[in-house]
Point group: C3
Chain length 158, copies 3
Amino acid sequence: MYQTVKYGTLKELQLNKMIEPFIHPSAEIREGCEIGEGTVIGPFVRLEANVKIGKWCTIGPFSVIAEDTIIADDVFIGPFFGTTNDKKPHIGPHGLHPDKPKFDAMPPRIYRGAVIGERVTLAPGVTIGEGARIDMCAQIYSSVLAGKHIRAGVQHKV
Amino acid sequence: MYQTVKYGTLKELQLNKMIEPFIHPSAEIREGCEIGEGTVIGPFVRLEANVKIGKWCTIGPFSVIAEDTIIADDVFIGPFFGTTNDKKPHIGPHGLHPDKPKFDAMPPRIYRGAVIGERVTLAPGVTIGEGARIDMCAQIYSSVLAGKHIRAGVQHKV
Amino acid sequence: MYQTVKYGTLKELQLNKMIEPFIHPSAEIREGCEIGEGTVIGPFVRLEANVKIGKWCTIGPFSVIAEDTIIADDVFIGPFFGTTNDKKPHIGPHGLHPDKPKFDAMPPRIYRGAVIGERVTLAPGVTIGEGARIDMCAQIYSSVLAGKHIRAGVQHKV
């Protein structure tokens, strides 16, 4: 379903008439990610491990995509997009501490054709339905149905 | 009105008693940008194409400045500043898809001496008037008059 | 109290059975910072000068930590964490201008075991008490007492 990532500048890609994904050289991509053809990953993007992104998407600059997130085809995501997957970060040692507990990751899922504006934040475990539109600075605390429009700056809690 | 960008470390610039702009080496600057003397561009800043910035400004870390934005002299901008220029990103293919539609860009404009705090977001097409002051986390959905003070966290809609 | 920073990949550190801090190679760290053992500094983090961070902390990606901030042990900080230390950025020349005024920095202080979610912003001079928990997108305008829980998206003003 997804191609393996290949790096290159947009010009290099176009000269070869390829439609590989374009990944900005400053992006940081962890192991196990897959990115579809024609997708653009902007500067200063961080993809955590095992993120899957479909075809013809845009991921805006300064976006962080949590581990195991799945994003379908034709999705637009603006700058500063933030995802989360841990509902209760615990009190106690973090970082490299051997007693740091594991957690049940709740990655978000984003369906085909969704359009997400600048600086939108998703709480753990939410899904964004097909063709949904989320305006800038919205905070999404529960899943958004297909085709729904969430206005700018709204705290969406259902 | 603006100098062409020259890269260099602050120390190099000072040893030469130059007052070139200082651009952090991690900043990403696209083609056609112009930056005035004495302006500091912080780490992890993204300037899209054809951005013009005047003299003696500060652009804080993690700021993204949309294509064709104009920023006058003596402007202070804090970290995580976000601009936008597309009022209606459409539903459908994005990225490198040949059918990706063009849009009428509405870049923001920021006048002399404006002071913009941390994590402020501008909607497409707004202007920030001379000497306006915008506190942290404000969301600016309509233009701000010269000298006006927008409080922290406010959703400014007029 | 704090070790001097040593750079290395997580794997290098583990093979040596060291518990040095792990600092992502894309992080930008200014002079005078100290980071405790087992602490993880994520990608695209900016530490300003003289920041002190304790042991077994996590500092999430895209976080900016203001000059002279002190963070104790066992603190978790999510992505896009923003600190500030200047209450009144002035109107007038900034950047490298010789008449740019100095200011009385008010760095924040974060006590042991605090847990701070994604995209939290601290106003200048606040403290976050021991074991406090701050959910995503909160804006913190005044100090948070030990053990207190600030809900997501709240503008905390006391």
